[in-house]
Amino acid sequence: MSPGQLAPTPHDPDERGHFGPWGGRYMPEALIAAVDELAAFYEKARIDPEFLDEFFRLLRDYAGRPSLLTEAPKFAAHAGGARVFLKREDLNHTGSHKINNVLGQALLTKRMGKQRVIAETGAGQHGVATATACALMGLDCVIYMGEVDTERQALNVARMRLLGAEVIPVKTGSRTLKDAINEALRDWVANVDDTHYLLGTAAGPHPFPVLVRDFHRVIGIEARAQVLEQAGRLPDVVAACVGGGSNAIGIFHGFIDDPSVRLVGLEPGGDGIDTDRHGATLTVGTPGSLHGAMSYVMQDEDGQITEAHSISAGLDYPGVGPEHAHLKDTGRAEYRPVTDAEAMEAFALLSRTEGIIPAIESAHALAGALVLGRELGPEGLIVVNLSGRGDKDMDTAIKWFGLGVES
């Protein structure tokens, strides 16, 4: 929680939200006034000591920050002997990094004088975090969730309802995250006067990619200080999973000005990128506009958005945040696909070797670390962003590994 966490950086986009050719605002005019208002409030808030105090107090006293940096030596033995440290976002209140962003945006919602919050969710992590912040701050909360996801993440649906949120299953399109975002945007345009759209990832129209990134920069700021203290040096690699890309952009920014540190994003490779069932947007996607920004997207030759496929509901998204597109182009970050099978292997491995059950999303980063560790060898040092815990993924694990009780 450094005072400069939200301060403008040399990596900020231009005033209309462009990171190079990416980002901007590809969205209906009806919503421009709302994003302009949000941008104006955020520009004031990000340098306002009172806002920062309140935000940091919530991160510390409510979310439980700073989160730990835990070395994982027995897991690392499978990673070519490189040292592996885990940034424990799974230990935050609500069980993932998502709480950082929702606390920041819920505070902004209050500042804007709005009483109603809507959000989309894929795995349910962002929905749960949003419902939590709304309960804490007395805001009305509506969560849009693809019907497919409500089925595979039933536990999170129950959590959100318990927290007082209304959960609306979205039955249009592919009935997953992208359709939940479409539906939230339709709600927003009809209710924009009293409603804030609390977007859950570092994508969407300006200022969301900057604002969400900044609220998550705490991850990288903490991790950098912790690894210097515990290992005495900077890591060779920082690895994080990338769906929309919020946890990755948050930890990457802590190291972005350290040229010796490679930033590696791990994308959902599904059944493999040589099949049509994956969500590796940066690896095989092409430029396009989706949900308000220009970025890489998964689309067919007509520009129709195609369905992503991943065992992880939280990475199952055919777009990606525009700053990641920019980091890919400039070469500052690199992106690799991880298949469902590789992720599930890492999911089981961390559980057994370290007693930590990761979210399947985060297991993609762990699988990447296994490969990167072997590439680096025993002298290597990797920080993995363990973006969430895996309790929510037990149904998937039961099916994948056959863990059910035998009758």
């Binding site: 945007l185 396009g288 520009g303």
Partner: protein
């Protein structure tokens, strides 16, 4: 010079508003959409908007979403759009295309403009492209002499109405309510105020859409707007096989109340 000025001039000379009807290409089928558009033109639409079915129509309510999904499931391809536009032009009708931006980006902005113009299309309505991001389209539309119809909303500031008006050619599309497409029972009270605000910035014709489904509503809008846009109600009429009757009712509606001279 605008390609659509003639339409609005003619309507003004008759002291009425223009009737603008929307239908997604490929709905209910590719050939079926050409038939429906022919009926719309022959029964009284002064201009038709041919919609390009898209996978993620964030500005559309359930009626148009379902129609777009049906068209895509039926195998609709972007290249089929130009044949539909051509079928309208061949009948002497006037067509613009309404499309989300990503399919145009993917097709190539200049190539799309070229092929639309070649098919006899007169312009493009872009619900999720604001002038701020439209440099390539401004250039392509000039090169291929197409009208550019951007949208304004009740939430638009004066500054943005001004920017949008300066960037537009043909007419301005005023969304009468804050919301997605779909027929509504009452015409929004925000519409007259929005049109009035727009007129302080431009002499371009202003057409009003979102929520219109009856002749009475059309008449209400025609009292202050230069064009009345009807979408979802036509999609529903296709299902009910009442397109000719709906068009006639709306055409009568836009003639009931003299529009501003």
């Amino acid at each position: 010079m605008s390609r659509l000025a003639g339409v609005f001039d003619a309507c003004r000379s008759e002291s009425r508003a223009a009737l603008i009807g929307y239908l997604p290409a490929g709905y209910p089928t590719l050939e079926g959409s050409k038939d429906v558009l022919r009926t719309m033109v022959s029964s009284g639409c002064d201009l038709v908007e041919v919609g390009l079915p898209y996978s993620d129509p964030v500005m559309d309510g359930p009626t148009i979403q379902k129609a777009s999904e049906q068209a895509l499931r039926g195998g609709f391809r972007v290249r089929d759009l130009f044949g539909v536009v051509e079928s309208v032009a061949a009948l002497g009708g006037r067509a613009v295309v309404m499309t989300y931006w990503n399919p145009v980006l993917k097709y190539g902005v200049d190539a799309f403009a070229r092929d639309l113009a070649a098919a006899g299309g007169l312009g493009l309505i872009t619900p999720d492209l604001v002038p701020d991001e439209a440099a390539e389209w401004l250039e392509a539309s000039e090169a291929h002499d197409l009208d550019r119809i951007f949208l304004v909303a009740p939430s638009s500031t004066e500054e943005r109405i001004d920017l949008t008006a300066r960037s537009s050619r043909g007419f301005l599309y005023a969304t009468s309510v804050m919301g997605v497409t779909g027929a509504r029972d009452v015409v929004s009270s925000a519409a007259p105020a929005l049109v009035e605000r727009v007129r302080e910035h431009t002499d371009l014709p202003v057409a009003v859409g979102l929520g219109v489904r009856s002749g009475a509503q059309a008449a209400e809008l025609a009292a202050f707007a230069d064009g009345v846009i009807v979408g979802s109600a036509f999609v529903t009429a296709v299902r009910d096989d009442t397109v000719a009757a709906l068009t006639a009712e709306l055409a009568e509606g836009v003639r009931q109340v003299p529009s501003r001279a």
